[in-house]
């Protein structure tokens, strides 16, 4: 019996080690148990990037503060619009700032060019500081959000729920940092430091 138990115990230890290693990989060493925590850690490590957002012709220090919206959003996007308005004001008052604001609609099916223009008018978005846009096709939208780890799901009331954050993105499409909406002054200050070439 003992002779049979030893290989069994070894196999159990190996199975535990295998699943333990997979769990460690999944949770970044047993620290990030949700997808969003994992995404933010990847951003901190410089592992999050959307190459399709690269802009070779942009100024070297350009930093974009990007988030996803849908124009029919009655709640969070409205608050975000107001925050973007305040950030736009601050950027306009900073001479030589290479910080740009980008609002991308993921509701590619319903948000027409006219809807995007109306959204930009509502919040007085001034190009080129603040651009309101969307992906060309649903496939482009899917690829972009997959690269950034942004998931939008129907909320059952005609809208969407999505993991929202302010993404600081350099001109190569790399995510430099992620901030919650409430942290927008910190996000803007970080972007302004990078956007004027003064790294922190």
């Amino acid at each position: 019996m003992r002779a049979r138990l030893l290989p069994t115990l070894l196999a159990c230890v190996l199975a535990s080690a295998g699943v333990g290693a997979a769990l460690a990989e999944l949770t970044g060493g047993f620290t990030h148990w949700t997808f969003e925590e994992r995404r933010r850690e990847h951003a901190r490590q410089g592992l999050l990037a959307a190459p399709m957002l690269a802009r070779a012709d942009a100024p070297v220090h350009e930093v974009r503060i990007l988030d996803f919206i849908f124009t029919r959003c009655p709640t969070v996007c409205r608050v975000l619009g107001t925050e973007y308005q305040q950030m736009q004001q601050a950027i306009l008052q900073t001479p030589g700032s290479a910080v740009r604001l980008v609002s991308i609609s993921f509701d590619v099916e319903r948000d027409s060019e006219a809807d995007l223009r109306a959204y930009a008018r509502t919040y007085q978005a001034q190009s080129p500081v603040w651009t309101v846009t969307n992906s060309a096709t649903p496939e482009d939208d899917r690829r972009l959000r997959r690269a950034l780890g942004v998931v939008a799901i129907p909320d059952g009331m005609g809208g969407f729920v999505h993991n929202s954050a302010l993404h600081l993105i350099d001109r190569d499409g790399r995510v430099l940092a992620l901030y919650d909406y409430t942290q927008w002054p910190t996000a803007l200050a970080h972007a302004q430091r990078l956007g004027t070439g003064n790294t922190p």
Partner: protein
């Protein structure tokens, strides 16, 4: 009835093939409750049916596994490890967003089912009580967590679905735990009682000398 009995295991064993149909897969995986409380158990059941078939069709495999699965311990540990892994919210999201995790989900649940079935003849009631006790505790703990946290843990599911899944896990724990504990716990107690009496017809395992 015999017809049903002969076809039911085959049907269950082949059930994972239906996840190859994207509309069906999306329908089940878009609900947290169905993802955890329908797809996971079905994959496990499919593995168990496949394991039973493999034990008959490939005795050498059964003998090989028997060498590293005394008392059904490896199957039991595998079930607990796989269950623990797939209770992690990040794993649930990645199963939908990353093909590697999706593949691991199918292989891990199915594999745990195969090992459980192969070890069924060796399963000691003590191991069963340990396994199902832990499994019920794990399901209940995850369920309590899911239903009490007020923010969504998964980006792929709404918070109200999380609450319903939490309740579902608690109900499953309350049904599964006591039933299996009673079944195997009573066997365990009766064997313990029997071993306390002088043996009537020999022992189950030879005593160590």
């Amino acid at each position: 009835m015999t017809y049903v009995r002969s076809w039911l295991p085959t049907t269950i064993a082949l059930l994972p093939l239906m996840w190859l149909l994207p509309p069906l897969r999306h329908a089940v995986e878009s609900s947290m409750l169905l993802h955890m409380l329908l797809q996971f158990p079905l994959l496990l059941a499919a593995g168990m049916m496949a394991g039973r078939w493999l034990a008959r069709a490939w005795p050498a495999l059964d003998r090989g596994v028997a060498r590293i699965d005394a008392l059904g311990l490896l199957g039991a540990i595998s079930l607990l490890l796989v269950s623990a892994f797939w209770m992690v919210p990040a794993a649930l999201d990645l199963a939908l967003l990353d093909a590697r995790y999706a593949a691991f989900k199918y292989v891990s649940w199915w594999g745990a089912g195969v090992l459980l079935a192969l070890g069924a003849s060796r399963y000691s009631p003590v191991v069963a009580v340990f396994t199902y006790g832990n499994l019920a505790w794990m399901l209940a703990s995850a369920g309590l967590l899911y239903q009490s946290i007020e923010t969504p843990l998964c980006v792929s599911y709404l918070q109200n679905e999380q609450v319903w899944t939490g309740r579902g896990l608690i109900v499953l724990a309350l049904l599964l735990g006591p039933w299996l504990l009673l079944r195997d716990g009573l066997r365990c107690l009766s064997e313990a009682g029997a071993s306390a009496l002088p043996p009537l017809s020999g022992r189950r395992f030879p005593s160590p000398r």
